[in-house]
């Protein structure tokens, strides 16, 4: 049976390179002796530190408290002594970091207990449990999930979309979770359906992941509340706005939240984490990370404790090739280039990608020849060449006129540009300048 494959307008087809890790089962990694847990692993206010040097913490113990409307809890991922709580340079910038000397015992916090029956809990109780567990969007944006589940009252939610698109090249962490523990995603989805008080949830998966589609569909065969939405393999299919368009044919109005058109989108790995946290009671202290790229000897999918330095994770995969020139936290399209191996794996680290010089953008930028490929590729229907022209010439108002603020920073324009112009970089600079001006 041929089924309809859903998609959006624009986008690009990069080389996916997922075969490096696609068939590799998730492996558990031993936590190293020193853990560095940043108190900012989410978007929003930094968590307030609850421990100080000399304290003894247990695995799963709350060490940073959610501070403010948009913030998230942070927990100890190992048991041991707190060596220091100090600002350290991390992927997110200079942030307060709890350094723990791992005693290797993995002593569980006594307060942790699994839930026997989720059915008996009220919506608010479930949302509070999700908040307590420190769950944030693990696709990379790290928006606190409990905030998403509490949309403004005037927004009537009718659709949940579980984002299993994983459109970033190289990454296979969500894919492995979908293939290995599809029941976590389905059960987590059922809980969220209850929390949101809706009747239907879609699981969006790209058509280059037939195994994942089959795994999920086998479980939801007789469940009318859940359905797999098969998506065209195209980047950025997993972008929130593009996913909503593909699945529901609705468009999120410019400057509004997805909830304003009745949609909530949650990443597949996050849904599985919600399910695990509710059942086991253990908060979010580990995640699956795809360690890949030609710069890595043995690419793998690893289950890593949060706070493990990237250096240790790479060592688990045979180390870094000597001519590796770039290390990226996340995927190649939206990931953040690292300047050191000392940064920690956090809730948003979906992948660690090591690229060689040959993969790198080394060509120099030349003049725009107005081929309009960036316009065809832009999933937001913008004119990236015009925006860049405005910003480069110092005319921010021109960039505004071409709706620079609607840019989702997916990078399709820079990817496709035959003149190798770093369009997105200019857009980011321009956006930052305009924000400064406004304040």
């Amino acid at each position: 049976m041929k089924r309809k494959v859903l998609s959006f307008k624009g986008g690009i087809h990069p080389t996916y390179n997922k075969e490096l890790t696609k068939e590799k089962e998730i492996e558990k990694v031993e936590a190293p002796s020193i853990m560095e847990i940043p108190l900012v692993q989410h978007i929003g206010a930094p968590a307030q530190p609850l421990v100080k040097a000399g304290d003894f913490v247990k695995m799963g113990q709350l060490i940073g408290a959610c501070a403010g409307a948009v913030s998230a809890n942070v927990h100890a991922s190992v048991s041991g002594e707190v060596l220091s709580v100090e600002p350290k340079m991390q992927t997110a910038g200079m942030v307060s970091t709890v350094v723990i000397e791992n005693d290797g015992k993995d002593e569980r916090d006594s307060g942790i207990q699994g839930i026997v029956s989720i059915d008996k809990l009220t919506t608010d109780e479930i949302i509070n449990l999700i908040k307590d567990a420190g769950i944030v969007g693990m696709g990379g944006a790290t928006f606190p999930t409990h905030v998403k589940l509490n949309p403004p009252k005037e927004h009537l939610i009718d659709t949940l979309i579980i984002n299993g698109a994983e459109c970033e090249p190289y990454l296979t962490s969500d894919y492995r979770v979908m293939v290995e523990t599809p029941e976590d995603i389905v059960n987590g989805g059922r809980v969220l359906i209850k929390v949101l008080g809706i009747r239907k949830a879609y699981i969006g998966i790209e058509d280059n992941k037939p195994k994942a589609i089959r795994a999920i569909e086998q479980i939801i065969q007789n469940d009318e509340t859940m359905e797999v939405a098969v998506l065209k393999t195209k980047y950025p299919q997993g972008g929130e706005k593009q996913l909503i368009k593909a699945v529901t044919s609705r468009e999120v109005p410019s400057g509004k939240l997805p909830s304003s058109i009745g949609c909530v989108v949650i990443n597949a790995g996050t849904v599985a984490a919600i399910c695990k946290a509710l059942i086991s009671g253990m908060p979010l202290i580990e995640r699956v990370v795809t360690v890949t790229g030609v710069g890595i000897k043995n690419p793998k999918n690893l289950l890593v404790r949060l706070g493990t330095p990237i250096r240790q994770v790479i060592e688990q995969c045979g180390g870094l090739a000597p001519d590796c020139k770039k290390l990226i936290s996340g995927g190649p399209m939206m990931g953040i280039a690292q300047y050191t191996l000392d940064n920690s794996v956090t809730k948003g680290t979906s992948g660690i990608l090591a690229v060689m010089e040959s993969d790198d953008i080394s060509e120099n930028e030349s003049s725009c020849i107005k081929c309009a490929r960036c316009m065809d590729a832009c999933p937001m229907g913008l004119m990236p060449l015009k925006i860049m022209q405005g910003i480069k010439g110092g005319h921010e108002d021109e960039a505004m006129e071409f709706n620079v603020m609607d840019c989702i920073e997916c990078g399709c324009c820079s990817f496709i540009c035959p003149a190798k112009r770093p369009i997105l970089q200019y857009i980011r600079t321009g956006k930052a300048k305009m924000r400064l001006k406004r304040n």
């Binding site: 990931g335 003049s367 107005k370 316009m375």
Partner: protein
């Protein structure tokens, strides 16, 4: 210890590049070039080398004087040289070719700031200059034996004589260097479509509109299709990315506009040929077309569902 590079995302790029695009167009011109050499002989190569040399040297000197990076290796000046040469009559004196090529790059491209910034198609601007400056030489259509002959369009317009269709399609000896074979032009044109260097919209609407006008006016559309610069202009000149509209709608408007102007000039104007002027005129409208044909943005709909 690895020294790590830090850059803004994305960290991968598509393999295509500006020189690759330019060289693909040059490859697409090869069939027309071969056809031209077959008909007019080795002199075509000399004309071609003259124009390419003049274009590249002009670009080089301009960039040296303006203290800008020299970009002659991107293939765009070479391409302009080839395009211009293929629009010239066979026996044009070489010095005229040289002057025209210098003008094409200097006034057509470099005064605007170089590749990507020009308003008019440089090759056509150079040709327009030559047509005005050397009107007699530019309209003397000679064959290899230096016998003057009229172009098929000329014959049709002035004497009402139709040339044989098959001969027009395969080899047509009266006309510019690049116009000798419709088949060769189409081969190159379809290669450009196939390799996605050009979009179908401009060439198809351009040719379609011209033929429709010819048909309505009672002129023979087949002769209009296979002779003169229509196919060459539609596939190679009106598809220049720099000087044509950005959006798909814009391209449709551009193509139809070119077709209308070509039709009007060919049918009612003083010249037998109108392709060059139509493209140059529509080039002038391109910024305006771009302004009014913005792409539809995501999230700017009034109702959802």
């Amino acid at each position: 210890m690895n020294t790590l590079t830090v850059t803004s995302s994305p960290h991968v790029v598509h393999h295509d590049s500006v020189p690759k695009i330019m060289y693909r167009v040059i490859i697409a011109l090869m069939p027309a070039l071969v056809a031209s050499v077959t008909v007019f002989g080795i002199r075509v190569i000399i004309v071609l080398l003259t124009s390419i040399f003049a274009c590249v040297v002009t670009e080089y000197l301009f960039q040296i004087i303006r203290k800008r990076p020299v970009t002659i290796s991107d293939g765009s000046a070479v391409l302009t040289g080839i395009l211009l040469a293929l629009t010239l009559p066979p026996n044009l004196p070489l010095w005229m070719t040289f002057v025209g090529s210098v003008i094409a790059i200097a006034l057509g491209k470099q005064v605007y700031g170089g590749v990507g910034s020009n308003i008019f198609n440089p090759a056509l601007l150079g040709r327009a200059f030559m047509l005005i400056t050397f009107p007699v030489a530019m309209t003397t259509w000679t064959t290899v034996d230096a016998i003057s002959s009229a172009t098929p369009l000329n014959l049709l317009k002035m004497q009402g004589v139709s040339t044989e269709y098959l001969r027009l399609f395969l080899v047509n000896i009266g006309g510019s260097l690049g116009e000798t074979s419709a088949l060769a032009i189409l081969l190159g044109g379809f290669y450009l479509l196939y390799s996605k260097v050009i979009d179908w919209r401009i060439p198809f609407t351009f040719v379609g509109t011209t033929l429709l006008m010819a048909w309505i006016a009672g002129s023979n559309p087949v002769i209009h299709l296979f002779s003169g610069g229509l196919l060459f202009g539609a596939f190679f000149m009106a598809t220049d990315m720099v000087t044509t509209p950005l959006t798909k709608t814009g391209k449709l408007i551009f193509g139809i506009g070119c077709g209308l102007i070509t039709g009007v000039i060919r049918l009612y104007g003083g010249y037998p040929e109108g392709v060059m002027f139509s493209i140059l005129l529509m080039n002038a409208f391109t910024p305006l077309i771009n302004r009014y044909t913005r792409p539809k943005m995501y999230g700017r709909v009034k109702s959802n569902g």
